[in-house]
Amino acid sequence: MQMVNRPYAAAFEAYATQHPEVLCLSADLTSSCEIDGFRDRHPDQFLSLGMAEQNMLSFAGGLGLAGFRPFLHSFGVFLYRRPYDQLMASIAYPRRRVRLMGFLPGVTTPGGMTHQAIEDISVMRTIPNMTVLEAGDATEVESIVAEADTVDGPVYCRILRGAVPRLFDTPLKIGQMRVLSEGDDVLVVTAGITTEEAIRARGALSRAGVSVRHLHLNTLKPFDAAQIVAHASSVRHGVITLENHLVAGGIGSMVAEALAEAGLPRRLIRLGLQDTYAHGGSRPYLMRHYGMDALSLVRAVERLTGQTTGIDEAALEGVRIDAVHSLVKAEAL
């Protein structure tokens, strides 16, 4: 698997320098959001707003009113949890073309509860006028910049940083989910880092005789309920959602709503954080601990099909372990 170093940094710089009405805003996490090079090379297009997210969001609303399209860079959790009122009143309600670039979604940060955006999808998708995107690989990180900027309104993006695997060779297109396999036993719906986990599981499941239909979502709002229902209706045993997020309000909820509204009776297992906070730790540890990894998916498939597969950790593709300190990640956070 090809790994790409800091795909966001290069993609944002290439795009923003061609669009002077795009502004780069940061709240004191400039290198952590891979825009330090942009700051150094294009200081006229960069605005440091300091550790003051409430002001940054309303300020961005004002920039939007002036006709600019600010890209706000911070950890995802800092873009909505404290400044929620500002997000509503200054950005979402008036449909400002503000691009919220949320780094370190879910358990991709070792920073613990304060740093982990585990309810961002549930919050963002209930906000009228908001578009919600999530990048699942280096290609999607690269293409999310220009694609988000096509939206006539605010956009929240879950961004991956550092060394990111390249899984796809076509760019992210809003509203176009990826059908990664077309099996007919079980439907698996993933997004972001959980797609890589499902790919790890799929090979072993296939060898064990389980035919998986696998969908990768990059557009969480607007949510294509009709497509989900169509895929769900073509599998035998049911649906499993696997998300880097609380199961309440996120992809699991969206799929449940889609099935219920369509009146399609299918069993549904929602994997992800089960009404719990996470804590600080490495990504593989957290995904295992909270039941969000490939092996958890295999066990869920077994519950759904009623068959044991005999798959254990050794049978799965290897787990990537990122170093806490590396050249692509300046600091631990």
């Binding site: 605005l47 002036a66 009228p128």
Partner: protein
């Protein structure tokens, strides 16, 4: 756009109109008219470079909130003139001053008196708490403390675009209890945003009563200066002083004029309610009738003719 009436006359007319509305409706944001009449009259009549209103004199009915399915949505900004490079913008940060702001729009000829009859009536845009689509409102400011931040962003953007028009915020002193206000002032100073200024109605009142009882805020002027603003302090009812303060150069920094006001200015009878002044609702028919006579006499106008119940 200079009105033919004097700013003093407009301020008096704002008080009279809000008084009449409050008596007739048995409630209203009356003390805000007392404290802010000169400030809003000054901004609309001489302090700001506003073009003529682009909106109908009688406000159109509510036409829906912003959404992709509502392409005809407009804000109330047009009442403050066209959004172009040369004209100023005005944000009314304390959106509950809407009644006073609407009265001001009428007195400066930007809205018909019929507009105020729509106040707080279902299906109109003339909402009790000024919304983005209400006459004279340009953005949502109903949660206090977000106005100056939005204005700072707009001002930064206008500067980059080469606009000569400035951005002004009418603020209230209670907003200094919100942390965001301080974030906004420090950001405006850090980025040298000097096409931005504000008048703050320092009436020392808030919803629960006198600010000193609710939350002590200390010396607002010193704190604002420490955060990087140029600050002037004036008597809010002294228009020559307000003119001088608004003209203070403030290169590289925002200007904030603290207008020290009296929440009963022009209606001393209201002191009998002190410190419950945030929203005046008369406790009895007797109080309403007495206030009607007493305040009308103070304003030099006839009492409101009340229908017999």
């Amino acid at each position: 756009m200079r009105n033919e009436k004097s700013t003093e006359a407009i301020a008096h007319a704002i008080r009279s109109r809000v008084f009449e509305h409050t008596i007739r409706n048995n409630g209203g944001y009356l003390s805000q008219a007392c404290s802010a009449a000169e400030q809003l009259a000054f901004l609309y009549n001489e302090g700001l470079n506003l073009g003529p209103s682009t909106m109908p004199m009688i406000p159109p009915p509510f036409t829906g909130v912003p959404s992709a399915q509502n392409p005809d949505y407009v804000t109330g900004a047009g009442y403050n003139g066209p959004f172009d490079a040369v004209h100023d913008r005005l944000f009314i940060a304390p959106a509950h001053y809407a009644l006073v702001a609407y009265a001001c729009l009428i007195e400066v000829g930007r809205m018909a008196p019929e507009g105020l009859e729509m106040f707080n009536k279902d299906g109109t845009s003339v909402e009790m708490i000024g919304a983005e689509h209400s006459p004279g409102m340009e953005v949502h400011n109903g949660t206090l403390g977000i106005g100056f931040s939005t204005a700072a962003g707009l001002a930064w953007g206008r500067k980059r675009l080469g606009h000569t028009g400035r951005v002004c915020v009418f603020m209230s002193d209670g907003e200094v209890q919100e942390g965001q206000t301080w974030e906004a002032v420090q950001a405006a100073a850090h980025h040298g945003i000097d096409n931005l200024w504000a008048i703050m109605d320092v009436n020392r009142q808030q919803c629960d009563g006198a600010m000193d009882d609710v939350m002590t805020v200390g010396d607002i002027a010193t704190k604002l200066r420490d955060f990087g603003a140029v600050v002037a302090e004036v008597d809010a009812h002294d228009l020559p002083a307000m003119r001088a303060a608004a003209a203070i150069p403030h290169p590289g920094r925002p200007l904030i004029v603290l207008a020290h006001s009296r929440p009963t200015q022009g209606m001393e009878s209201l002191m009998s309610r002190f410190p419950r002044l945030h929203y005046v609702r008369f406790k009895s028919d007797e109080e309403r009738a007495r206030m009607n006579v007493e305040i009308a006499a103070e304003l030099g106008i006839a009492p409101v003719k009340l229908e017999a119940h």
